[in-house]
Point group: C2
Chain length 294, copies 2
């Protein structure tokens, strides 16, 4: 299977949805512009691709998978906008472009984030997008996404990250932080795709396990990239190391972190052992994460 062309096709579908979705809505123009600016600022669209790949893994046929993926990407985008704010990480650049608050001002960036987060739940409950999805499944997807994004998940992880900055946290605390900060929404993406695709309880649990492992692997890879790549390559202005944050390489060394990423990916692949060829994209995505780390 050609992962590159799979990713490209899925990314095109997601980007198309994200580009067109807000246009017809009666949103104050400057707010819409800010939301679209950040949605359009690129990125790998990892979370929506995971929704689609998990949906494929269980043999799903739902036409709502792109919409659900896009909703989760809106949540991811809101989290980046708020993370970049002066009161938070105070970043001027994101993905090589000026951050939302640098272009639209701080107040508008806060509101654009709030708007994107809320928009996600509008999509997940909108009959025109969730048309053929049973209401029970819609409710479960809303729950998965809300828990992944909320104060026990991503928002909680952001707080742990903020509190730990400059302090000497141990491996367990670092893992707990990442399980929430990036892991929770990644796991929710996989679970949402599985639910949409009609996964049974066993399949759902296996895919949740996969999501947890690649979520961590992804973070370890990110930490490695943060050490090995230059600012220009990363497209952001301040590395986590420069910020005095604990990272996997700082805790385990570069080679130790690479070994850890490999172990996590192996475990993620093990979670998929009960799945057939439909899970090939999920397997390829897991392997791709290691490539990034090397």
């Amino acid at each position: 299977m050609e992962l590159k062309s799979y990713l490209k096709t899925q990314k095109t579908n997601i980007d198309g949805f994200l580009r067109d979705y807000l246009s017809p809505l009666d949103i104050p123009p400057r707010l819409k512009e800010a939301m679209q600016y950040s949605l359009g600022a690129g990125g790998k669209r990892l979370r929506p691709v995971l929704v689609l790949a998990a949906h494929d893994a269980v043999g799903g046929k739902s036409r709502a998978a792109v919409a659900v993926g896009a909703a989760i990407e809106m949540i991811h985008t809101y989290s980046l906008i708020h993370d970049d704010l002066p009161a938070m990480d105070n970043d001027d650049f994101r993905r090589g472009k000026p951050t939302c608050h640098r272009v639209f001002g701080e107040a508008m960036a806060i509101l654009a984030g709030d708007g994107l987060l809320t928009q996600a739940f509008e999509i997940l409950s909108d009959p025109s997008h969730m048309e053929e999805v049973p209401a029970e499944v819609c409710v479960r997807v809303v729950g998965e996404v809300a828990r992944g994004a909320g104060s026990t998940g991503m928002v909680g992880g952001q707080v742990l990250d903020m509190i730990s900055e400059g302090s000497d946290i141990d491996a367990a605390a670092l893992q707990n932080m990442h399980l929430r900060k990036t892991g929770a929404l990644i796991r929710a993406s996989v679970a949402a795709g599985a639910l949409l695709g009609g996964a049974d309880d066993e399949g759902l649990e296996a895919l949740r396990g996969y999501g947890t492992k690649i979520g961590l692997a992804f973070q370890v890879a990110d930490d490695i990239l943060d050490v090995t790549r230059t600012e220009e390559e990363l497209g952001k202005s301040t590395s986590d190391v420069a910020r005095g944050k604990r990272t996997y390489p700082s805790l385990y060394g570069l080679e130790g972190a690479r070994a850890m990423a490999e172990t996590l990916v192996t475990e993620a692949l093990k979670s998929l052992k009960g799945f057939d060829g439909g899970a090939t994209p999920l397997r390829e995505i897991a392997r791709y994460i290691i490539t990034r780390a090397h």
Copy 2:
């Protein structure tokens, strides 16, 4: 009917839910504290009371009404936390207490707001709270609340408010701003209660009409209070007038604004003409809004 005792009972139920709900959750302690601080900072609990009263108006018997009301109060509370931020209204006091960011810092206040907004959707999709609610109704409630809170609703209204500050907007623009900023979530509260209670389409439309009118009436009354009460009585440090915002009294004069509030309340009561004694709390709430303005 004794509105005071009705309001008191309902407020007690809501406050109890809000006080207990977060405690058992695995939220980082400082974040939980910030969320609880703002949830516990008082307020009339108007929106949850409207959920309960609309639910009563259609003869509802759902045990989920308190949870839904509490979820909407979390959204209202998040909006206050973000509104008060230095980048927004920069308020040091709210309801007579230091604002969230004054106590917990700006970053934590942003995240506490994000957490509360997301928590609302966790509640609305949580089977332990929505147990007996048909999934179709849950999805519709999520949709109502998300649209009311989002970029075409409350967040959009906040942007219009921000953009209009200090500028000479006309009556139509002022109304559009308020229909979104405060009106949309108030209408969503009434609609959510009606849906939970099993309203038919006609009843739902009538109650939406009621919600729109009292939402505006409430804002007009707020504007009047802003002129006629002192800072100490209001419990906040900067009046909208001092901030150079257009208000109903500045546009229509104090007496004109009072007449407007009365007309809106009369229209709200007209929307309820097809309802029996179950709508008494909704009628009393509408009348109470005028009392506030005098």
